[in-house]
Symmetry: C2
């Protein structure tokens, strides 16, 4: 993996896992020290993160973690509600015992992470469950869009989620897997739609305080 990609993933991970909360500033030289590269490389990944809406860059003011607006949060979830259920038929075409097993293991892991209150893992696994499902539809263009929306959803949860709502409390992902095993497309679609709507409705609207972040400890070597 290229070095840029490595830095990109680390920062994205920190944002998605709520270690860098919405509004946190990301000064270039502080990051370049932490990662041991020049500002050039840092700017590159910050610009990418900005295009993907994980950070916001204001001219001459630098980057900070995006604080999604209420409208943005709503639109991201609506987009998923529109697309993800529609992927079920294509996905079912590739559904077999091996996939079922793979996803059940993921759901299991997810459940454990949630039970153990491992917030970061729980967030990652929840997002991964959804976008790996999207990937199985076979359409890489849509899958990568869904991947981005899943990560944005994690950021949205950081801004608007209750602590309990990180996992999908409206019932287990395993329920969906049962429906997929039965090859019941319409029920699976309904389940997915309901699931996402439930997540959306669980969002609340309040801002959160900030803190000082030790980049050296987060990323340094």
């Amino acid at each position: 993996m290229s070095n840029d990609e490595h830095i990109y993933r680390q920062i994205l991970k920190a944002i998605v896992e709520h270690q860098l909360p919405p509004g946190a500033r990301l000064p270039e030289d502080r990051l370049s020290e932490a990662f041991g590269v020049s500002r050039t490389g840092i700017r590159k990944v910050l610009q990418r993160l900005a295009l993907e809406h994980f950070v916001v860059i204001e001219k001459n003011k630098g980057a900070q973690v995006n604080r999604p607006s209420e409208a943005e949060a709503s639109e991201v979830l609506d987009s998923r509600i529109l697309i993800e259920p529609q992927l079920i038929p294509a996905l079912l075409a590739h559904w077999d015992a091996a996939q079922s097993k793979r996803f059940r293991a993921m759901a299991q892991e997810e459940k454990q992470a949630e039970a153990a209150n491992m917030l970061a893992d729980s967030i990652q696994l929840t997002a991964r469950f959804h976008y790996e499902l999207a990937t199985l539809s076979g359409n890489k263009v849509l899958a990568s869009f869904i991947e981005q929306l899943c990560y944005r959803s994690s950021l949205i949860l950081a801004a608007y989620g209750t602590h309990g709502s990180v996992g999908c409390e409206c019932g287990d992902h395993a329920q969906l897997l049962d429906l997929l095993d039965q090859k019941n497309a319409s029920k699976a679609q309904n389940w997915m739609s309901h699931h996402l709507k439930h997540i959306k409705s669980s969002l609340i609207l309040e801002s959160k305080p900030e803190e000082n972040i030790d980049f050296q400890r987060l990323f340094g070597r």
Copy 2:
């Protein structure tokens, strides 16, 4: 508009309008001369174009206009087929006489451009018709994704389209506007779905020759 944005749009325009064909190389210093900025600014927009799949950057080999694979072409169109018809209901909620008038003017312009064989204008207007429609749905997240897919479709047409297939020969966009005026959601959805499938099926699979490009003439001042 920022300078970067200006450069970005010019290059994107040139790609989308088939002035920079798939496979065309985009050397940084040639572009920086043409636009009168340093390579720094050029690299920034090339990286953005790469993230959006309009160019491909290979390590130590620079950027060239993306030559979409058959799979990519298919997936982009499939994505539009999945999403665009689904936007019709939300779109209809905002549909009124003013919008109808606006879109009819666009459709008219489009028709004229096609009749006059003004390829570049025709391509731009066709894409714009679709993504402005998407914008009217009210979901900016989806609309900007559709916008990107429309531009990618233009690039795909450059690679796989017949000359005649640039415009939407399966009938006028005005037909859709009639259905929207009637507030007939399901018929409008069907029309859109059929329209996009027709475009997809009109693609043919053959590569095209290259030429030498005079960046100074294209972009210079």
